[in-house]
Amino acid sequence: MLDTLTFKIKRQNNAESSPYWENFVIQYIPNSNVISCLMDIQTNPVNSKGEKVAPVVWQSNCLEEVCGSCTMVINGKVHQACSALIDKLEKPIILEPMSKFPVIRDLIVDRSRMFDALKKVQAWVSADGYHDLGPGDSQSQSVQEVAYKLSECMTCGCCVEACPQYTKDNNFLGAAAINQARLFNIHQKGNDITEQRLDTLMQEGGISDCGNAQNCVEVCPKSIPLTESIAEIGRQVSGKLWRNIFKA
């Protein structure tokens, strides 16, 4: 029977300082998850050498794997800390911040690049103005069935963290943004600006930076068919390429 639990945590004091490793030993509680253990460490922030240190900080909100804010690298693989169950993890448990984003402190990273990517592909329905636009068009059952799954994306960062093509040195938009472009391209109102989305995706950082490693679809906590979305956007830009060459 386990009675203690060791955490090996990659810490960093601020955005500029260099990272270091620190171990923490806490009481084992059955059915706990990584967040509840981090809370225990926060309550009594004493490292394995017995030194009282600044508590480990992390980001979390919903605690039910729908907000994506507690995403971190747990035992080498990216996952939400709230749904990472201690009983199912190898011990000792190694926690690291995601490696593709700038670290703010300890396990907190700045995911702005992902949100900027959503802006770049205009992942929204462009309905401007405050006047009454009347009721929206209804969505057909077949479109709804596809769209619902795609809309479950919480921009957590798992797909881009696991992607070998997404690095700190390039400006790849990543699977999440490509998937959202597909979602709004099939939306009955969002498809107004399909061509603009494809224009963005046909530039550096767009769809052509995908290397087909397919890690994104393997790690997606929401099981979104990301490779299907990438292939679908690939098909849409192939069509646009054809139109640009022969119809423009």
């Binding site: 080498g76 693989k77 490696s99 593709k100 696991a162 070998p164 093509q165 997404y166 690095t167 040195d169 390039n170 224009d199 046909m202 530039q203 550096e204 767009g206 769809i207 052509s208 930076d209 995908c210 290397g211 087909n212 490693a213 397919q214 890690n215 393997e218 790690v219 068919p225 490779t227 299907e228 990438i230 292939a231 679908e232 956007i233 690939g234 098909r235 849409q236 830009v237 192939s238 646009k240 390429l241 640009n244």
Partner: protein, 205 residues
């Protein structure tokens, strides 16, 4: 649409048409090794009888190959190694890059050995004798054979796995089911080309 996108798409297409098709034709020609020196040499030399042979090679093989190689070398260095994600498709991703670099080195050696070397020596035309003497040389034969085996496996893998990624990139295979079908097809292409080429090489082993 910018040059970044267009160059990657052209490079992707070039890998299948014409480079992939040339590879299949080139491997098919090797089956004539079983017909003996005279027929093999005639088959190869007959291609060069055409007044456009050199131009055809430059346009259909060398330029696309150069573009595909340059693009390949560029994208081999733009990524992050992440060994903890041990998925099969991730392995294929790295094998595609590894085989690409390996095959590029093989092609450089192959063009030197089978083409430029004989031209300089003035033995151009006796392809069969050149190849079989290289394979049976008591000192360097084993090395030549090993390099050829690795080169053929690398090239055939890069082509058949490339068929797979081509279908994703261009949006030909959309759903996981159709992507799986394409993957099975690419396995069959791999096995077929490997068996055919090793059968061809067995004539001079």
């Amino acid at each position: 649409m910018d040059s970044h996108f267009i160059l990657r798409r052209i490079s992707s297409l070039a890998g299948i048409v014409p480079i992939g098709l040339f590879l299949v034709y080139h491997l098919y020609m090797q089956l004539y090794l079983h017909s003996g020196a005279e027929i093999y040499n005639n088959e190869v030399n007959s291609f060069y009888d055409s007044p456009l042979a050199t131009w055809a090679l430059i346009i259909v093989v060398y330029i696309p190959l150069l573009l595909h190689s340059i693009m390949g070398v560029i994208l081999v260095f733009d990524n992050k190694i992440q060994p903890s994600y041990t998925y099969f498709s991730h392995l294929l991703y790295w094998l595609q890059r590894l085989s690409g670099i390996g095959v590029l080195l093989f092609i450089i050696a192959h063009i030197w050995n089978a083409k430029l070397g004989p031209w300089i020596e003035g033995t151009w035309g006796t392809h069969f004798e050149h190849l079989s003497s290289g394979f049976t040389d008591p000192e360097t034969g084993m090395i030549t054979k090993t390099v050829y085996v690795l080169g053929v496996i690398g090239a055939v893998f890069h082509f058949s796995n490339g068929l797979n990624t081509f279908c994703m990139t261009w949006g030909i295979a959309l759903t996981p089911t159709s992507q799986k079908r394409v993957r099975i097809f690419s396995y069959l292409v791999f096995i077929f080309l490997i068996v055919s080429t090793f059968y061809a090489l067995s004539a001079i082993w």
